[in-house]
């Protein structure tokens, strides 16, 4: 068996030389191409290293400035003295409430739109093209414009005032394009074999959608959700005019509330001596984002491992 494979190898290398390819790369050319390979590899490494270093630097900065501020009280107490003292407990609560409103509105709407685009319209249909065009446009609108829109539409026209509800709804508009586009990709990644298989079993399109396609598309949808959460948590401009910047503990969704990113902005820009708290808050925000990312990735790994081993 072993000998056979060896002779096979020899035969192969003979064929290789016979085609002339083996002799084509002569000494000098081989040298120069090796050099180019090394250069390219070196460049790639440098770029990666610069990226890592940037992130490391930011993280180190946040850690050195903000780690000292972290304590149990920091997570539970309300800000005092314009944020220089006290904690960020109320801000955390407001942030999570805004995020919850945003996701509760954006997720069903986004997933349903994605499902419509991928399963119920032809890829090149004009309706689909229009919806996708509008979404791409929405995705490129600066967040301050969303803020102004939210202030006029949700706060004034609908009379919701500066409130967590207004902020969450504004964020939902902003997150929607990301969510729809990546969920649609998720739906399209689902193999047509499943659609045909379900149809061949005489299953209705809605049943197929709900019980076969949707679960299979979950990884793509999760990516969209994580990207959307990231964008929502990082948002300042759209929230200043809509959810406001009151640091009190919100009593209802119609109360104004300050998000983590606004808190950071305010402390860093408007409050002399607020930098340590700003760094501490930023550290919390980064850790929160990382946890959501990792959590989603781990959940999807488990999901995939469970269902699609083939």
């Amino acid at each position: 068996m072993k000998r056979q494979s060896k002779t096979q190898n020899q035969a192969l290398s003979g064929w290789w030389a016979g085609t002339g390819q083996g002799n084509l790369v002569t000494g000098a050319r081989r040298q120069s191409s090796r050099w180019r390979d090394r250069l390219a590899a070196g460049l790639c490494w440098t770029v990666a290293a610069v990226l890592l270093a940037t992130f490391g630097w930011i993280l180190a900065d946040l850690l050195s400035e903000g780690l000292g501020r972290l304590s149990w009280d920091f997570f539970t107490k309300a800000p005092m003295d314009a944020g220089r003292a006290g904690g960020i407990g109320t801000v955390l609560v407001s942030t999570l409430l805004i995020l919850a409103v945003c996701l509760l509105v954006a997720a069903p709407l986004g997933i349903a739109t994605a499902a419509y685009l991928s399963e119920y319209t032809r890829r090149k249909s004009s309706v689909g093209r229009w919806i996708r065009g509008c979404l791409d446009l929405l995705a490129s609108v600066p967040s301050i414009v969303f803020g102004l829109f939210g202030a006029v539409f949700f706060c004034q026209m609908l009379g919701l005032g500066f409130s967590i509800l207004s902020g969450g709804l504004t964020l939902a508009c902003m997150v929607l394009p990301i969510l729809v586009r990546s969920s649609e990709t998720g739906f399209r990644m689902v193999s047509d074999d499943l659609r045909r298989g379900a149809a061949a079993l005489g299953m209705r399109q809605n049943t197929t959608m709900a019980f076969v396609i949707l679960p299979a598309a979950l990884p793509g949808i999760a990516v969209g959700l994580v990207l959307g959460i990231g964008r929502a948590l990082a948002e300042t401009a759209a929230l200043i005019f809509t959810s406001g910047y009151v640091t009190r503990m919100p009593a209802s969704l119609l109360d104004s509330g300050r998000s983590l990113s606004i808190h950071i902005y305010d402390l860093a820009m408007n409050v002399p001596g607020g930098e340590p708290t700003a760094s501490g808050t930023a550290l919390v925000l980064v850790v929160l984002l990382a946890a959501i990312n990792w959590g989603a990735a781990a959940a999807m790994d488990r999901w995939r491992g469970r269902w699609s081993r083939s």
Binding site: R122, S191, R196, A199, A200, L201, G202, T207, W307, S310
Partner: protein
């Protein structure tokens, strides 16, 4: 099943031209021929999966027990329950083995848990998979081997108690051992179901089929060349093309 004057167009391109073919009840009809000769297209017409292909137009007549299935009045869900289909690549749903059966069964009105379980066991036994999977019905179906997956798909189609089973090269994506098992399974179904099988494997067609039909691509359009009982198809074909094809001179 009676197929007459069947023509299929993809957009404006004709794919299948005027095929007339009676399909004998409770027998195996093999469709053979080179790639692109319209065998799979023909098969897809028989349970109207052609409806899923954008721009596909089907003309002619297909009757199942005298009932026309190409018209608008045809209940597609019922048709596809009566005419099941197995694909080249096994396509178990990405969830548990049990749910692969209960979901379609419930869709067709069998809501009772015990009834579902009984049917599940019955069809898994019929495909010889029961002893292999009875202890892991809760495990994901994609975990099974390729041959097991294909048998699961056949069992899943049988669970709906079809009259006709369409098989599109059911063995070609499997290793020789699993291929043999699936082939034996198909043979064992002969007397209870009407089977139409597309295959590239002539010896296989000869082993298992009762009738054979040769499809050929004539100037871009798939056409039926000859259809005959298996013995005369291989030993005394009337068409020269068939003679060349079974002798391995063409195709």
């Amino acid at each position: 099943m009676e197929v007459s004057g069947l023509q299929v167009y993809y957009s404006s391109q004709q794919a299948l031209g005027r095929v007339t073919l009676p399909i004998r009840k409770e027998a195996i009809t093999a469709l053979v021929g080179p790639s692109g000769s319209g065998k799979t297209t023909f098969l897809l017409c028989l349970n109207r999966l052609t409806d899923l292909i954008p721009g596909c137009r089907v003309e002619g007549s297909i009757r199942l027990h005298g009932e026309e299935i190409l018209g608008h009045g045809c209940n597609l869900l019922r048709l596809r329950r009566r005419v099941g289909m197995i694909f080249q690549k096994p396509n178990p749903f990405p969830f548990s083995i049990r749910r692969n059966f209960t979901l379609p069964l419930r869709e067709h009105g069998m809501k009772d848990r015990q009834e579902q379980e009984a049917r599940l066991e019955q069809v898994l036994r019929a495909v010889g998979l029961w002893s292999e999977v009875k202890d892991r019905l809760h495990r994901p179906a994609p975990e099974l081997s390729g041959g097991q997956q294909q048998r699961l798909c056949i069992a899943r189609a049988l669970a709906l108690e079809p009259e006709v089973l369409l098989l599109d090269e059911p063995c070609s994506a499997l290793d020789p051992l699993s291929s043999g098992i699936v082939e034996d399974l198909i043979t064992s179904l002969r007397n209870r179901y009407t089977l139409v099988i597309v295959t590239h494997n002539l010896p296989q067609a000869r082993r298992i089929a009762d009738f054979a039909s040769l499809f050929w691509n004539v100037e871009g359009v798939g056409r039926l060349v000859e259809s005959a009982p298996i013995q005369s198809f291989f030993e005394a074909p009337t068409e020269k093309l068939t003679r060349d094809y079974v002798a391995g001179v063409r195709g």
